[in-house]
Subunit: 213 residues, 2 copies
DNA sequence: CTCAAATCCTGACGGGGCGTCATTGACGCC
DNA sequence: GGCGTCAATGACGCCCCGTCAGGATTTGAG
């Protein structure tokens, strides 16, 4: 019989895709992340076990530990992922902004929109009484906080605004964004515009009334 | 032989103290709470185990479960305890207040003072990188939140202030208090007055700028 | 005082999740 | 095709969990 391989079982790669080793590695990492999202969503952070996550991927338990040291670390990876995707949006708002007011408005709006969009995919079926899992200070999350602080600093200076306690201000803004955002998610319809108006109004109104250090 | 009991091994109780059963029960409950505070302080919430807590009390492991169903439940009991002691302070501020401004100032000041005082006794030696354990929505904590909301409602009405989104406002105020309070605890000296001035300034200034629903 | 009932303390035990590691087979390279 | 490397595997030992039958102590009645 003719042995010409019209459709060879494994055609040679002419591109420069990484080898199979590398590909399964990223696939596994992604699979674990996806499974973790789902399991955390269904069981909550406390209720979830590493075994639950790994079971969903079909991998062996030991494989999990080739990628993450613990349940905690996967969770942080998910948070990091969110922060990493939010960072560029924040940067865009900083570039667009002409003063503190416009930056704050843009950043808040971006955050609430992001939250509303993410919320759909995180789809949490939270066991009664369990609070939101605490987002820990992962590198990427810390970076976002630092970026907010720095943006505030620059944009306030650009405005020739009187000095304020930047640490308190940053903490307060992030706190307001988080809590108002949380409440917003519980309402139907989710009104990102209303939440933005509230948070921005509060902070912009409060800014001139702050004590001068 | 004469059976007059000059110094009976167990003198009759003339008071109406509860019986020994009741006394050891409250003693045990308190011992577990104290041990839990210490263990959570040293190991952090995640690092602590029920065995760590019970070991510190000298009781048997099974005894723990006569009082609390889980590590989670003791932690909640500690939070509840804090909320229960804060509640009357909040109520006093409400009674004293003449308008929204004075209530907010009093309540914030009370909270920051409370925090500073509690901080000494909670004395946390937190493992690097671990975030503050999340305070869960225990009954007493929920009650405090509701009380803040109701106080806001009444005092704003008394002021003939224009209507606002009370849920957002309450959430935002608590968020600011929490985060600014956290930052305050990290500073030396702990400046409760400065923190109060900041939080009150922000919110009082922001209030007139809020969107009207 | 005595005794039985009630209470609850005790610690050993089965269950299960954790993280490890020796083994195995697939992959990449020559 | 052959060989060195590397990740996947899953059984294993460890530790913590929550339970429960047995025992010690307290209570109240006679």
């Amino acid at each position: 019989m003719s042995n010409i391989a019209y459709f060879p079982a494994m055609p040679p790669r002419e591109d420069n895709r990484p080898g199979k080793r590398e590909r399964t590695k990223t696939a596994n990492r992604q699979a674990i992340l996806d499974a973790a999202r789902q399991v955390f969503g269904e069981l909550g952070y406390d209720g979830a076990t590493v075994r639950d996550i790994i079971r969903l991927t079909g991998l062996a338990s030991g494989t999990f530990y080739n990628y993450y040291k613990s349940k905690e670390e996967v969770f942080d990876a998910l948070a990091d992922d969110g922060a990493r995707r939010f960072r560029p949006l924040l940067r865009v708002e900083f570039e667009k902004a002409t003063d503190f007011a416009s930056f704050l408005r843009g950043a808040m709006r971006a955050y609430f929109d992001f939250l509303a969009a993410e919320h759909e995919t995180w789809r949490v079926n939270r066991p009664a009484g369990e609070t939101h899992p605490q987002v820990r200070a992962t590198p990427e999350v810390t970076a976002v906080f630092a970026e907010v602080r720095e943006a505030f600093e620059r944009v306030l200076e650009r405005d020739h605004a009187p000095p304020v306690d930047l640490d308190y201000l940053t903490a307060a803004c992030i706190a307001v964004a988080r809590e108002v955002g949380d409440k917003m998610l519980e309402r139907r319809p989710m009104d990102t515009q209303g939440a933005t108006a509230f948070a921005v109004g509060l902070i912009l109104g409060g800014l001139p009334a702050l004590p001068r250090p």
